[in-house]
Subunit: 143 residues, 4 copies
C-alpha cells in the first residue's frame, strides 16, 4: 500500500502597513514573524486547528523555535503572500514551514520555520500529542 | 487652612527604537500612545497605582479616551522624556496629561491626555471610585 | 442652486491579530490608531489621495492631532469594520472622523478623529492647500 | 605568538511593556526579535558600530537570517537582560548570538542568532567587508 505524501498548506495575503516599513523604506525584519503568524492563522481557519482550538481543549501552543531567512525587501503598499505548510513529524509538536512572496511579481522574499509544543493548563509540556490533536491528524489522513 | 495644589508627576526616558521610525524617518504617530503608557508606568511605580495595583483589587483600568497633539518629529536614536501628570477631578476616573520632550534640546514634541475608568471583574463600569483608589488618594493628600 | 452635502467615506475590514490583544484579553488601546490608519488607507485607495500621492507631489501629510474614544473592547479574532469619513473644512489640512464597529454584531466599539497637514520637502508647513490637493477636491466636487 | 580569543559583548535591560504580553499573559514571541535588536543597539553604542555608523559610510546592514529558541516565558513588568555577543567569522557579514535572561532570577528565557550583510547605496550585496568595518575590526583587535 502506497501513501501519497499529504501536504497541508494555507495561504493568505498581508498588506504591508506604512508603519511596518523602517527608515530604510523596507519592512523591518521583525514584522515577518507576524506575517508567519498570519499564515498560521489562515491554516488554522482552513483546517480548524490553532490557538483557539487548542485553548478549547485546555492547551496552549507556545512557539519554542522560530527562524527566518530574508531574501528580498518588502515595502509599504506591497502585498505579501504568506504560505504556511504543515510538516508532520510524529512528535508532540507542530512544525510549519513558511514562504513569503511579493504578490506583484511572485518574488520569494523570505522563508521560515516554526515549532510549537503542547502545554497543558498546569504549564506542563506534553511529551505525547494530546488527544484532540491526534484526532485532528486522523481526520486529515496524516496518521 | 489653605491647601496648596498638589501636582503628582512622573517622568521617564524612552529611547526611540529603529523600527518605531517610519519611511519618512520619523516616529510613526501611533507609537506616542505607547510613550504615554510608559509615562503612566513610571507614575505607577513612583506612586504605587496602576494596572498591577488595580488588578490586585479586582479592577481593570481601561482607557476610554486618548488624544495626542504632535508638535515636532522624533527620530531613531532620539531620547524622549515623557512627563505624566495626574489630574484630580473627584470623579470615578483617572486622568493624565502628557508632555513629551526631546531630551537633547528639551523641545516639546507632543502633548496628550488620557482618561481611564474603573471596571470590576464582572465588567461593570464603576460610578464611584473604588475603595483602594480612594485610599491611595488619601495617602497622597489628594482628597 | 442647492448643493447637497458630499460625504466621502471608505470602509475596510481589519482582522484583530493575536498579538494585538493584551493580558486582559482585549485589544490594547494604542492599536486603534493603526486601525484608523487602515481606514485612511482604504480611503486613499478609493479616492486616490494619501501618503503615496502626496509624496509624488513632494509633500508629506504628518498627523498633527489624533483622538480616540473607546466604547467597547475588541478581542482576538474579531473583525473590525473601520469607517473613515473625510471632513472638508476649507483649511490647509485633512480631517478624518472614524468609527470602528465589531463586524459580528455591528456594535460601535470606538470613534476617533485625526488632523493632517501639508509639509513640503523643506519641512515647511503649508498654510495654503497645495495645488495637487485642490485639484483632488475639485475632481470630487468638494470645492 | 598566541592570541587569546576576544569576545565582544554588550548587555542591556529591557522592561517588558504591557502591550507586549498577549492574552496568554506572556510576551508574544515576535517581540523577542525586538529585544535582540535592543541588544545590538547596546553593542552598537559600546563598540561604535551599527546602523548609524554603517549609514555614515554609505552602507546598510540588513538582517538576512534570524532565529530564536524560546525556553521560558516573560511577563508584563519583567525586566529582560539581553546579551549580544559578536561572532567573528572573517566573512563579509556580521553575526550575533543572543541570550535573554529574566533579571529577577537570571533564568535563561531565550537564545538566538542573527546574520547581517553589507549592502551599498546601489543595493549591491558586498562580497568583501567594507573598509570602515575592517578598520573597526582592526581597532578592536579582531583581525
Amino acid at each position: 500500500m502506497i501513501h501519497n505524501p499529504i501536504s497541508l498548506q494555507a495561504t493568505c495575503e498581508v498588506v504591508v502597513r506604512f508603519k511596518e516599513a523602517d527608515p530604510m523604506g523596507v519592512v523591518w525584519h521583525g514584522h515577518y514573524i507576524q506575517y508567519f503568524e498570519d499564515g498560521r492563522e489562515a491554516f488554522s481557519k482552513k483546517y480548524d486547528i490553532g490557538y483557539a482550538q487548542a485553548s478549547q481543549h485546555g492547551y496552549t501552543l507556545p512557539i519554542v523555535k522560530i527562524s527566518c531567512d530574508y531574501k528580498k525587501p518588502l515595502r509599504y503598499g506591497d502585498i505579501a503572500l504568506v504560505e504556511a505548510t504543515y510538516l508532520e513529524s510524529g512528535a508532540a509538536k507542530i512544525d510549519f514551514q513558511y514562504k513569503i512572496f511579493k504578490a506583484s511579481d511572485r518574488t520569494l522574499v523570505a522563508t521560515g520555520h516554526s515549532t510549537q509544543v503542547f502545554v497543558d493548563q498546569a504549564g506542563a509540556l506534553q511529551l505525547l500529542t494530546p488527544a484532540f490533536a491526534l484526532q485532528w491528524k486522523k481526520n486529515l489522513g496524516l496518521i
